[in-house]
């Protein structure tokens, strides 16, 4: 422990002793700014406190184990952790079956939503340095308190109107990871159904030792994710998010995200704009050997962060002209709706819009237990959770889906809707009915989904028949089960393949990084 740290932070410890009311009547909901399976995030006003703007995360407690150990732990962290770069909770209280966590409203939203709405090619290096340094301050504080964040990514880094940066969602979602027996303890020993969640996470940010974890992992896993987040901020998405390549999606993705640039920069070594210091900093975080990655305190002393500018710079270069969180969420909602009505509008929608539309459609299939394509290609990371779920748990039951999606919910950020995505019960047939353009690819996709949906319904009908004592469909059931089993095996294989590809890609990146550095010198 570094005893000096405490005193440097001393200044921030005066708790603003404003008491936020503990009843829902004192808050006026203004707008929805995020949605997940087990939680909704609102922008709200606290009426007795001069209508101060707050964010309220309303969590469905029925989806958690009854001792609420994880929620308790995390609300406590949000109360007791005090750092200018960590999002605190004003208070939390139950409202019927839900828990309301009242937090400061971060009007800029998450870096992920900022990037996907306005900086598809990533932020400038100067902006990245500021954001990362602030994040690192928070991470350093957490680590010195003996706490791991375990889900560092742009989606969990929030920005306020004054350019201040706060790390969030070490809250409930992290706790869900914890409840799921942790990455470190292996997956086979899970006794509770919720345990299966240990397989979820956000793989593109996940350190190798977390993914393979037989030996366990620690603080250095956060450092890895921090490095991936740096790349995400630089490129507009985390690396490898295109793997494995699916032709149709890649086509769509490249159109709006200019994947090719990124690919080139990685694979052919023509890294266009990044400084040596930046590349060096990221490379040190992305060392395969956790013990070789620097600690937070060490990273803070890295030259990359030496001359980083103040938050004003972010206001000027990032926040200026940015649509509000509410607007971004509203747009995404409208797009979601359009998606159901008008599935094939993809190509005429705006950039981020059509991307969302695409997500919706695919994710709709996802929820339909077996009616989806197993394809971890999504243009933005907000979808990764559902993707991973698919990869690993295709064919699992609804409750599992819910549980897992829960873990991807983000405070304050429109990205939270991604969780909704995976749970939307949009029947694929609906899309099919409203199909109005003849895009063969979409058509086939829709028909496939419809077929899967029919299979699904058939299975449910046969279950019902069984329930009422009929045994007509037993043979069918057996077949379904067999298919299910084979599917699971396939998932496992695909997952293995995915992980190997990820490793391979990482190695390539390292090699090209090394050669870049050489060339540039």
């Amino acid at each position: 422990m570094k005893p000096l740290m405490a005193y440097e932070q001393e200044g921030h410890h005066h708790h603003p002793k404003v008491q936020f009311p503990l009843d829902s009547d004192s808050y006026k909901i203004v707008d929805e700014i995020g949605i997940g399976v087990s939680a909704i995030v609102y922008k709200a006003e606290c009426i007795p406190l001069n209508s101060t703007t707050v964010a309220i995360k309303s969590i469905d407690l029925d989806q958690f184990k009854v001792d609420f150990d994880n929620i308790r732990r995390e609300t406590k962290i949000m109360t007791l952790f005090s750092h200018p770069n960590i999002l605190n909770a004003h208070c939390s209280f139950t409202v019927g079956r839900r828990l309301w966590v009242v937090m400061p409203f971060m009007s800029g939203g998450s870096l992920q939503s900022i990037i996907s709405s306005s900086f598809p090619d990533g932020l400038s290096e100067q902006c990245i340095a500021i954001v990362l340094k602030e994040t690192l301050n928070a991470l350093s504080y957490l680590h010195n308190q003996g706490h791991l964040h375990r889900d560092i990514k742009a989606g969990n880094i929030l920005m306020d109107s004054n350019g201040s940066v706060k790390l969030a969602d070490f809250g409930v979602s992290a706790s869900v990871y914890e409840s799921s027996s942790g990455y470190g303890s292996g997956s086979s020993t899970s006794s509770s159904p919720m345990m299966l969640m240990d397989m979820t996470g956000t793989p593109y940010w996940m350190a190798p030792e977390v993914i393979h974890s037989h030996t366990g992992y620690s603080f250095k896993a956060d450092i890895w994710s921090f490095g991936i987040t740096a790349l995400e901020l630089a490129h507009g998405r985390p690396p490898l998010s295109h793997l494995p390549p699916s032709k149709s999606l890649i086509m769509k993705i490249t159109k709006r995200f200019r994947f090719s640039d990124y690919e080139d920069s990685i694979n052919k070594g023509k890294s266009k704009k990044f400084s040596k210091a930046f590349k060096d900093m990221v490379a040190s975080c992305l060392d395969q050997d956790p013990s070789k990655r620097p600690s937070t305190d060490k990273l803070l002393r890295h030259p990359f962060f030496k001359s980083s500018k103040g938050s004003d710079f972010l206001v000027k270069h990032v926040l200026h002209g940015l649509p509000s969180v509410e607007e971004r969420f509203r747009v995404s909602k409208i797009l979601r709706k359009n998606d159901v009505d008008d599935d094939d509008e993809d190509d005429v929608e705006g950039e981020s819009g059509s991307e969302l539309v695409k997500q919706r459609r695919i994710s709709g299939w996802n929820f339909n237990e077996d009616g989806f394509e197993l394809d971890p290609v999504f243009p933005t990371e907000s979808r990764d959770d559902s993707v991973v779920k698919q990869v690993r748990f295709g064919g699992e039951t609804i409750i599992l889906e819910k549980g897992t999606s829960e873990s991807s919910l983000n405070l304050n950020s429109p990205e939270a809707e991604s969780s909704l995505v995976s749970s939307t019960t949009t029947p694929p047939c609906e899309e099919q009915q409203t199909e109005n353009t003849f895009n063969a690819e979409t058509m086939v996709g829709g028909l496939m989904a419809l077929k899967k949906s029919l299979d699904d319904q058939r299975q449910k009908v046969s279950e019902l028949i069984n329930l009422f004592g009929g045994e007509v469909m037993n043979k069918e059931d057996q077949m379904v089960q067999l298919i299910e089993k084979l599917r699971m095996e396939l998932e496992t294989e695909r997952q293995k393949n995915f992980e190997l590809e990820m490793e391979l890609e990482f190695l390539k990146f390292q090699i090209s990084g090394a050669s870049n550095t050489d060339e540039n010198d």
Binding site: L4, A6, R72, K76, L80, Q145, G216, S218
Partner: protein, 379 residues
């Protein structure tokens, strides 16, 4: 206190009393980084100053032993206890010194990013700590510390509960002689600022059976029924965790307590918790009740509980509430499914002396619903 969870669990390494399977897993996880210090020869040149030089510079002037630090902490605490007003000269300075000491104590007990805790140092520290009234001073002065120091103090106190000196938990001996300290800790739930700190300390203290017995048999036990329904969720949930710990950790003590205090305890439990207007409270209460009654050591209590028609009616209503709910909380479902046959047998065997149609109807419905539960209801 779970804010200390990671460090808290590391004690398993230093002393041979790991808290259970989970904490062992965490301990293993945490052992990992410390075992491999993070200085890398290739990248160290990038950093202007290595952390070890910083540490050296810090400690060069006064190489103090753990015993020194405890003594100085005690003196500073005594000072803090005496001087309530901030006017006194050097107060600020001394408080800063105190905070620094607390952090050093924590560092010795938990280790830091450079080193694992040394059991010899831990033992010395613990011995000196409980040799005099340091714990009392620390607990009473806690409100005077700042947030970081409170957290450090809480982690130190938590850790000390598990430290063995000559294979004895001397914290337990100390607390046994100073049981009134528990009164302060429990009353902490009524103080918003202190609740989470005192609550975390309390939960560590009731690991000692004698301490748990004291709390169970004290008048404070009644207050928990209110604490766990406090409006602030984090505090209420903390109190609920302590309540659960009290009623499940030390089996024989719990069984003794329940049989001695059966009447008032279950009257309160039924009326304040199981029939609470708060859904969350009801859900927690029924789970805990299950944990208590289904524990073998409480078999006698269980028999007595289920032989009351009122009790069963309350339970049936709750079961009906949960069993009939469309989106059953998964944990409830798994409990119901796991205990399906037991529950059905229990209800089938349960007969009233008099004819009671309503009761029989309720019973039949609950039995139907339980019987219909299947494993596929859960993920």
């Amino acid at each position: 206190m779970e804010a200390i969870f990671f460090f808290g669990e590391r004690i398993g390494i230093c002393i041979s009393k790991p808290g259970g399977a989970t904490s062992r897993a965490v301990a293993q996880r945490l052992r990992h980084p410390a075992a491999q210090p993070d200085s890398t020869p290739t990248s160290s040149t990038l950093y202007d100053k290595s952390s070890s030089t910083k540490m050296k510079g810090l400690f060069k002037s006064k190489p103090r032993t753990p015993v020194d630090i405890v003594r100085q902490t005690r003196d500073l605490l005594s000072f803090a206890a005496r001087s309530s007003e901030s006017r006194e000269s050097k107060r600020e300075e001394k408080m800063a010194e105190l905070f620094k000491n607390l952090r050093e104590l924590k560092s010795i007990l938990y280790g830091n990013s450079e080193s694992e805790p040394v059991s010899e140092a831990c033992a010395q520290l613990t011995q000196e700590f409980f040799r005099e009234n340091t714990l009392r001073l620390l607990i009473t002065c806690l409100p005077k510390l700042n947030l970081e120091a409170r957290k450090d103090a809480t982690q130190v106190v938590a850790n000390l509960q598990r430290q063995q000196v000559n294979s004895r938990l001397i914290a337990s001996d100390y607390l046994e002689a100073n049981l009134d300290l528990l009164d302060i800790l429990i009353a902490g739930y009524e103080n918003t600022d202190m609740a989470l700190h005192y609550g975390a300390m309390l939960r560590e203290c009731i690991r000692h059976q004698t301490v748990a017995r004291y709390v169970l048999e004290s008048q404070h036990m009644k207050k928990f029924f209110d604490y766990i329904q406090l409006p602030k969720f984090d505090i209420a949930a903390d109190a609920a965790a302590t309540f659960k710990e009290l009623l499940t950790r030390h089996k024989s003590t719990v069984a003794e307590f329940l049989s001695k205090n059966y009447d008032w305890f279950f009257a309160e439990y039924n009326s304040k918790l199981l029939e609470s207007s708060n859904y969350i409270t009801r859900r927690q209460a029924i789970k805990l009740l299950g944990d208590i009654l289904l524990d073998r050591s409480n078999a006698a209590v269980m028999t007595r509980y289920v032989s009351s028609k009122d009790n069963l009616r309350i339970l049936m209503n709750l079961l009906r509430l949960f069993a009939a709910k469309q989106n059953k909380p998964p944990d409830i479902v798994s409990i119901l499914v796991a205990n399906k046959s037991k529950l059905l047998r229990l209800f089938a065997d349960f007969k009233t002396n008099k004819e009671d149609e309503q009761f029989e109807a309720d019973k039949a419905q609950v039995m139907r619903e339980i019987a219909a539960l299947e494993l596929r209801d859960r993920p």
